[in-house]
Symmetry: C2
Subunit: 271 residues, 2 copies
């Protein structure tokens, strides 16, 4: 593999469209960085698949992004981060950040009482990856986790502040609220779109948005490693998906908060 | 390919677990038939994927089932039936039934006023396949379709008669109820599990369950073609899935209403 250069793009990947919330945070925080995004839209969602299947798919994507000469990797999918982050760090010579480590770091820094709630997909929650990461950083934290399987379909339906979504959130969050927490980690890249609704329900709780957390850590990492792009032109954004991009564009522009431009489809056979 | 024999199994396939509602109806209606079920759990759901991807996956499954010596094929997935049924009939020498044709036939037979509502996943509804099938059978029918993207995740969450599900159903069905319909087709294999809740909301509407419709048509087809199994022993049921079977078993036994027995995992590379 060629040496990484500052002008090379950041590689961001996700099982589908959700990781665009991370891309959005990166664009805001690092407006001169080139970005290559990969969304595995033909095989989304990963949250219901097994560990070995997720690991297999993840390594295919990493291999593809390395062939695009990315200078670092960001695992923007909580499910892949929970299941396959270790494996990615093992096989890739590039710096790797993942949303779980970033979310955990941010939660530990933000929490004053050490009581931290985590919400995510069933696979993320069952993997216990957030609790493990948080306990590694601070063994005194108490972590309360809750799977919210309906949040992703509700966000993709666009019901961001709908009575159904509100009722679903009340049902899911009831057991979390009875615990003494002061911080709630949005452990899925779809959830930042629910932040306005959730913040009206959670009162004084601090909501940790791992998209923003990982953008901050990316800035720091690029500085430390001398990999920050010094060119000041318009950055180049490329989007690769494994299925026909129609639905990706419709939902994705809501996630990204701007136009997506060209989207390239990659056949699964090329992975 | 070897000639089909009456003792050969019926091949039923779906993108995941939903087609087990068809298997259940077959077991009840045809208790001596052997059945091979294929659920593509590593790539579920199909409802959000593109036409070409769905077609590609479908033909892989048909090929696999033909290698299991099935005597006929049942497309138990509405999305695959909507997108790929024609293609399957083109390439397979076996008799093929699909849930859309069966549901449409049953709806046309049941409706007295010719006003028929259809609910399903976005892909099924956008394909317009039910309306097309119904109009081919009776051009005078009026068809009103409504996509219900949240019903599948709600069923898989097990919220079969939950306030959230009820509120979601009210929202989705509102525009259908204002039309003059007397029949509502449950155009997704997950929806029969919502039948008890839906029937309390729909009053005098006839609910068409395509699982039951297709079981009736299977019985007829096997008789006509001399393919009904004459052996009277315990039938053999085999279940193939593409992902680790844990989740398939948990949700599947609810769909099937009985124990699943052995489940075999097929690697995607073997398709």
């Amino acid at each position: 593999m060629a040496t990484s250069l500052p002008s090379h793009p950041i590689g961001v990947f996700d099982s589908g469209v959700g990781g665009l919330t991370v891309v959005r945070a990166l664009m805001d925080r690092l407006p001169f960085e080139n970005i290559v995004y990969f969304g595995d839209t033909a095989r989304v969602p990963y949250g219901v698949k097994s560990t070995s299947t997720i690991e297999h798919f993840t390594l295919q994507i990493v291999d593809f992004l390395q062939r695009q000469n990315v200078k670092m990797l960001i695992i923007a999918c909580n499910t892949m981060a929970a299941v396959a982050a270790e494996k990615v760090r093992e096989i890739s010579p590039l710096p790797v950040l993942d949303v779980i480590e970033s979310g955990a770091l941010c939660a530990v820094a933000e929490s004053k009482t050490g009581g931290i709630g985590v919400i995510g997909t069933p696979t993320t929650i069952n993997s216990n990856a957030y609790a493990r990461a948080i306990h590694q950083m601070d063994p005194d934290c108490r972590v309360y986790s809750q799977a919210c399987p309906l949040f992703v379909p509700l966000v993709e339906e666009g019901w961001l502040d709908h009575p159904v979504t509100r009722l679903t959130a009340q049902e899911y969050l009831k057991p979390v609220f009875v615990e003494q927490i002061d911080t709630l980690v949005l452990g899925c890249t779809h959830y930042p779109l629910l932040k306005p609704m959730l913040s009206t329900m959670t009162g004084n709780l601090k909501l940790v948005d791992s998209a923003i957390a990982i953008a901050d850590q990316t800035a720091e990492l690029l500085q430390q490693q001398g990999l920050a792009n010094t060119q000041r032109g318009m950055p180049d954004y490329r989007y690769f998906v494994t299925d026909v991009p129609l639905n990706f564009r419709n939902v994705g522009e809501r996630f990204l908060g701007r136009n997506l431009g060209a989207i390239e489809q990659v056949s699964l056979d090329r992975l």
